[in-house]
């Protein structure tokens, strides 16, 4: 019945599995948060292209994030995290900071990560002895639908509205969706969402219409610093691995990829990320597993329960005295 033994779990090329013969290479996003400047061009470009409605005029107080989350009305969401760096990370003992003027050109002691906000040197003002602050950094990440290899939203969709495109992406067909809401509970990333005044479920389509015309998705095209990169997933994964290596070489050991691994709980994401902290810091689940991995076992349990139910009924009527 299953087209591929890995149809529910494990590494898989999703487009052929979804019935596309001679599918083009799987396309995806690599979002490199180490170069994200939090400009939100992705959010706006997405809304302009896809005609996504306004998502509310609320000052949320979550740093510069007034979008809040991926929702039916925000298909890209830039997260902003203001945080002290982990204790002991890159900071120099305070007495070094007051070092004499001719301390020489190199700073071997404090040569922490090179590319972040305040890596090597001093926290603002520490040299003046004013504050107790620890070092500080400001993380930004443009979140988006992950276009999972094993997309629970798609698999649980009872209408076939959510479908796998020939590019391996996951798209809601607005002419089909009847707003049953199942996909929303199924998504391990909290991405897909119901639009209240519309009833249907909406999320990033990876600009399916643009892909068909050979164009780049709106967000990736707009992104000023190439934080959002679009391309064949295989290429992106190679590029991402190289980028992590570069960052590690440059003294950014906390750089890590998220969603790149075809062996992870969702078979790898079509949209994966380079992060500078744990996933949950950005609001991402640390180790998502597609719920349908366990579906065969669930059906088995349901079958057993059904049998038990039937058996109990038979017993109730056959056995007993009254």
């Amino acid at each position: 019945m299953l087209p591929d033994p890995n149809s529910l779990y494990g590494p898989l090329d999703p487009a052929p599995d979804a019935g596309y013969e001679n599918a083009p290479p799987r396309m995806g996003f690599f979002t490199d948060t180490s170069v994200c400047i939090g400009c939100k061009a992705c959010e706006v470009a997405c809304k302009e292209w896809n005609g996504v409605p306004e998502s509310g005029l609320d000052l949320l107080g979550m740093s510069y994030d007034n979008t809040g989350a991926l929702t039916a009305n925000s298909w890209r969401h830039v997260a902003f995290i203001e945080q002290p760096r982990p204790a002991g990370h890159g900071a120099v003992p305070a007495d070094v900071l007051g070092a004499p003027v001719d301390a020489g050109p190199a700073r071997p002691v404090d040569a922490g990560p090179q590319f972040l906000g305040m890596p090597g040197g001093q926290p603002p003002g520490r040299g003046t002895g004013v504050e107790e602050r620890t070092d500080f950094r400001w993380l930004m990440m443009s979140d988006v639908c992950k276009h999972c290899t094993h997309a629970a939203c798609l698999d649980v969709c009872p209408t076939g509205s959510l479908f796998r495109t020939e590019f391996g992406t996951v798209v809601v067909q607005e002419d089909i969706c009847n707003g049953c809401g199942y996909c929303i509970s199924a998504c391990p990333y909290g991405v897909i969402d119901q639009r209240k005044d519309d009833g249907r479920a909406w999320k990033c389509t990876l600009c399916y219409d643009r892909l068909g015309a050979g164009m780049t998705p709106a967000c990736a095209q707009a992104c000023p610093t190439e934080s959002i990169q679009y391309g064949p997933l295989d290429e992106l994964r190679e590029r991402a691995a190289a980028r992590v290596a570069t960052l590690h070489d440059r003294g950014v050991p906390e750089a890590r990829l998220y969603g790149h691994d075809p062996n992870d709980g969702v078979g790898g994401d079509g949209a994966f990320f380079l992060l500078l902290d744990e996933p949950e810091v950005y609001g991402l689940p640390p180790d998502p597993i597609v719920t349908t991995r366990d579906l065969p076992k669930m059906w088995k349990r349901a079958g057993l329960a059904a049998l038990a139910m039937a058996a109990a009924t038979v017993a109730a009527f056959v056995g007993g005295s009254s």
Binding site: V44, G56, Y64, M118, T128
Partner: protein, 864 residues
């Protein structure tokens, strides 16, 4: 830069990828800081102290690019022995006139040119914002100078520089700016390490730098560093001004500024320029080197473009038609005049001073006291509805039924509904094609002014008054097309480019300009944009089909040069400084300059050329004088004239500062433009009393998500929702001190206004230790006003009016205020609160504090 120019910032990220180190200096940690290698929090308004520290570091350690400095700058030039420095004057240079608050610059001149410089008392130059004039053509200076190539002469510029910046030590930088010595040294080391034949460093500023009472000197300090390190005129070098509006560069090139005519020709002054010859000579400075020697051709061609057949050599090309300056006619003087009832009518053309200009209340009160106001905009902006919805209506200061201003709101065409050129921040003109017709009554400015002019001329057709001749003789015959009779923008661009009067042939460049009336040029620096009858600004050869200079994309003035003064990218002998930094060089075989860019030099003048004695104009420029617009062909470390507040940058405190100037007895720029008007006031700063009434420093700037006064972003839903409310950023320490809570309300009080904002408590703001005290700074976006999808109080309301003396731009990046928890009062109680603060601070509206704060009041350094 990431915050306000994200797409430009891609090139910084590109450089970073290739190993560049990025330092970011800002009062608050921004999106730029987040990806910079180093972030240096700075006390707002102290950039000269920081940069001066770098200058000292360079000179003390002799880290300058000596070959470049010797050949291409005025480091070796000897300065008059009458000159005395701020070192000796407690913050004053020689020549200060306390009566007018300006300098007599004779003593600043190069030796031997004390009297012949043409530069004297600068009070009038200040009023005419002469600094802007000097933006392109430099200031007058004698062409032949005495030099000491060993740089040892005590009065050579190099030594003067060294003495002047001697006190800008790392300790002083820390004391003034709040930047630790270690961080400062990190910056200084990295900057100086990227200097020399193989390496360059780039200085990027956003034009908030100009919005200081010493704004021009900020940029001067940056230029000094870049000259010392050999970073000017070379790829990967330079001082990059990130201007904030699509064609703000164009708005100065073809100015709608009171003191300028197109191409930085000065608007004539009634006393200085009574005749055409005097006017022209004041531009070209006879005897001076450089290309301004051709000023007569440019001036005559402009007048010819304006008045066509009526302009003849015999009548000085209708020079008499030009209106004359008598003093300061800048926008802030105008606003005060409006309040005083002196101005009848006001045009606002895509501008929203009710939100975007300093002292919003003064702006609105001024507009409420006009006969008529014409607002042309895409949206119903605050400057059109002040009489209805402005904060002064709430306080009772403007009563609609008593406000006489007649308001015309005319909808404008958007950028896709008209064609024309924008000049972006690197002087590049790009033509926009028209996509659609404007909706309804919306029209372009081109349409409005063309037809307004047509109507005026019709109404005056029978006039015999002399004053109407200028209108009636005007060339005003642009072809029109389309359903609305839209004038042809290409025809206007053609006139800007210039043409041969006899044949109508478009000129190929300003070298073809003639002073005999045979050429007409609307803006000489733009000449060539329509060369060969082709709209060069409309060129859009894909970047994939040309080299990285991309010379065939748009058109850059002058003459499509992408890097100015690029002769400096070659060494004195004309060879590239290094293979890595090859850009423009002398091709000895072909005996001409060549390279990736259009050489900014006479094409066939060899590096070995030395001018004959007494040569002037272009002929006077030697083969190794790259700065061809300067009067001596050199990059100016020291500016003997042209900069009104000193030949060298000096740290002065902002006009409003909680700190006594640690460097000099003189507190703030003594030459700043001040207005003693009842509506205007300045919060007290040391050594005045009551400075503690406004204990906090506030600074304002842009958010990525909004644009300037908000008319183009608060009205646009996908932008409005991204930053939906006015807020103030405060440090946790200040929040604790004042009692502010995250997402709660605060109100800020200055001597002019009270505004309220939601509070964002963030570690991105940090208290600084300055001169032994802790200084708290708060930050505000200035985008909010009372119209649009999202609204809020305007940060610019907090500012008073104090201007840079060179360009008359207001200090609106730093001020002092008090911060209080909770919402502000409303109605008349608001005025009471301000009045209470004014009383406590000893502010008497209409009076300003003395400009001079030294004991000797600068007298002993007075005019000599």
């Amino acid at each position: 830069m990431a915050e306000a120019h994200p797409v430009g910032f891609q090139w910084v990220m590109e450089a970073k990828r290739r190993g560049a180190k990025v330092f970011h200096v800002d009062p608050r940690f921004t999106r730029t800081s987040a990806v910079a290698d180093e972030y240096l929090p700075i006390r707002a308004g102290t950039d000269i102290a920081l940069l001066g520290g770098v200058v000292r570091y360079i000179l003390d350690n002799e880290l300058d690019f000596r070959e470049y400095v010797l050949s291409y700058t005025n480091a070796a030039t000897i300065v008059s022995e009458e000159f005395s420095d701020t070192e000796d004057g407690d913050g004053f240079f020689s020549g200060f006139d306390p009566e007018t608050g300006t300098y007599v610059q004779d003593s600043w001149q190069y030796e031997g040119h004390e009297d012949s410089s043409g530069s004297g008392h600068t009070a009038q130059e200040r009023d005419s914002a002469a600094g802007l004039t000097h933006e392109s053509h430099g200031a007058p200076v004698g062409g032949q100078t005495r030099r000491d190539e060993t740089l040892q002469h005590p009065r050579c510029v190099y030594q003067i520089l060294k003495r002047h910046f001697a006190r800008y030590t790392p300790e002083m930088v820390e004391r003034v700016c709040g930047i630790s010595q270690a961080q400062f040294l990190e910056l200084a080391r990295a900057w100086t390490a990227n200097s020399g034949r193989d390496r360059t460093g780039m200085l990027i500023y956003s034009v908030g730098w100009t919005q200081h009472s010493v704004g021009v000197q900020y940029i001067r300090t940056g230029a000094i560093i870049q000259l010392l390190l050999g970073n000017m005129g070379r790829p990967g070098g330079g001082v990059m001004a990130l201007r904030g509006h699509a064609s703000i560069q164009g708005s100065t090139d073809i100015p709608t500024l009171f003191n300028l005519l197109p191409g930085y020709l000065p608007m004539p002054h009634h006393a200085e320029h009574p005749s055409f010859d005097e006017w022209v000579d004041s531009i070209r400075h006879p005897g001076q080197k450089g290309f301004w020697g051709n000023a007569r051709s440019f001036a005559a061609s402009l007048l010819k473009a304006y008045w066509g057949d009526a302009a003849t050599p015999e009548n000085d090309f209708c020079y008499g038609y030009l209106p004359r300056l008598t003093g300061d006619h800048g926008t802030y003087q105008q606003v005060l005049n409006m309040i005083d009832g002196k101005i009848k009518g006001y045009f606002l053309l895509g501008q929203n001073p009710a939100v975007g200009s300093a002292h919003g209340r003064a702006q609105r009160l001024g507009m409420a006291n006009l006969d008529w106001l014409v607002v042309r905009d895409l949206f119903m902006i605050e400057s059109a509805t002040f009489w209805q919805n402005g904060p002064e209506v709430a306080t009772g200061e403007i009563v609609p039924e008593e406000c006489r201003t007649e308001v015309f709101f005319l909808p404008a065409a958007s950028h896709v509904e008209k064609e024309g050129t924008f000049t972006q921040t690197q002087r590049l003109l790009q033509w926009r094609e028209k996509a659609v017709e404007p909706p309804g009554d919306a029209r372009s400015e081109l349409w409005f002014f063309y037809h307004l002019g047509r109507k005026l001329r019709e109404k005056l057709a029978d006039s015999t008054l002399p004053r109407d001749r200028a209108l009636l003789d005007l060339t005003w015959d642009y072809p029109t097309h389309g359903p609305h009779a839209e004038p042809s923008a290409e025809a206007v661009l053609r006139e800007i480019n210039g043409y041969d009067v006899a044949t109508g042939r478009p000129l190929s460049g300003f070298a073809e300009a003639r002073a005999d009336g045979s050429t007409a040029i609307g803006c000489w620096i733009y000449s060539g944009v329509y060369a060969d009858g082709v709209n060069q600004a409309a060129r859009r050869k894909s970047r994939h089909e040309q080299d990285w200079v991309a010379a065939e994309w748009g058109w850059a003035w002058p003459a499509n040069r992408r890097i100015l003064y690029n002769r400096a990218s070659a060494d004195p002998d004309g060879n590239p400084w290094s293979e890595r930094k090859r850009y423009v060089w002398w091709d000895a075989e072909k005996a001409e300059w060549t390279g990736y860019d259009v050489p900014d030099f006479e094409k066939t003048k060899p590096p070995s050329y030395r001018p004959p004695v007494g040569a002037s104009g272009p002929e006077g420029i030697a083969g190794d004088d790259p700065f061809v617009m300067q009067g001596d062909g050199k990059g100016w470390l020291y500016a003997p004239s042209g900069v009104l507040d000193g030949p060298l940058p000096t740290h002065y405190e902002p006009v409003e500062s909680p700190v006594r100037n640690p460097l000099y007895g003189q507190q703030a720029n003594p030459t700043r433009k001040m207005y003693a008007h009842p509506v205007n006031s300045v919060n007290p700063s040391p050594p005045q009393e009551h400075a503690q009434v406004f204990p906090y420093v506030f600074t304002v700037s842009r958010l990525t998500e909004h644009h300037t006064a908000g008319a183009m972003s608060r009205t646009v839903s996908p932008l409005a929702e991204l930053q939906p409310e006015m807020f103030v950023e405060v440090s946790p320490a200040l929040a604790g001190e004042v009692g502010l809570t995250h997402l709660g309300w605060a109100h800020l009080v200055s001597g002019r206004a009270v505004i309220e904002a939601k509070v964002l408590v963030t570690d991105r703001l940090t208290p600084l230790r300055v001169d032994g005290r802790i200084i708290h700074q708060v930050w505000l976006p200035y985008h909010f006003g009372f119209e649009g999808l999202v609204t809020g109080d305007s940060a610019n309301d907090l500012f008073g009016i104090s201007l840079d003396p060179n360009v008359l731009i207001q200090e609106s990046k730093v001020g002092t205020c008090d911060v209080r928890p909770g919402r502000r009062p409303t109605g008349p109680a608001l005025l009471d609160l301000v009045a209470d603060y004014q009383r406590r601070a000893g502010i008497v509206p209409g009076q300003h504090a003395p400009a001079v704060t030294t004991d000797n009041e600068g007298k002993e350094h007075g005019a000599s």
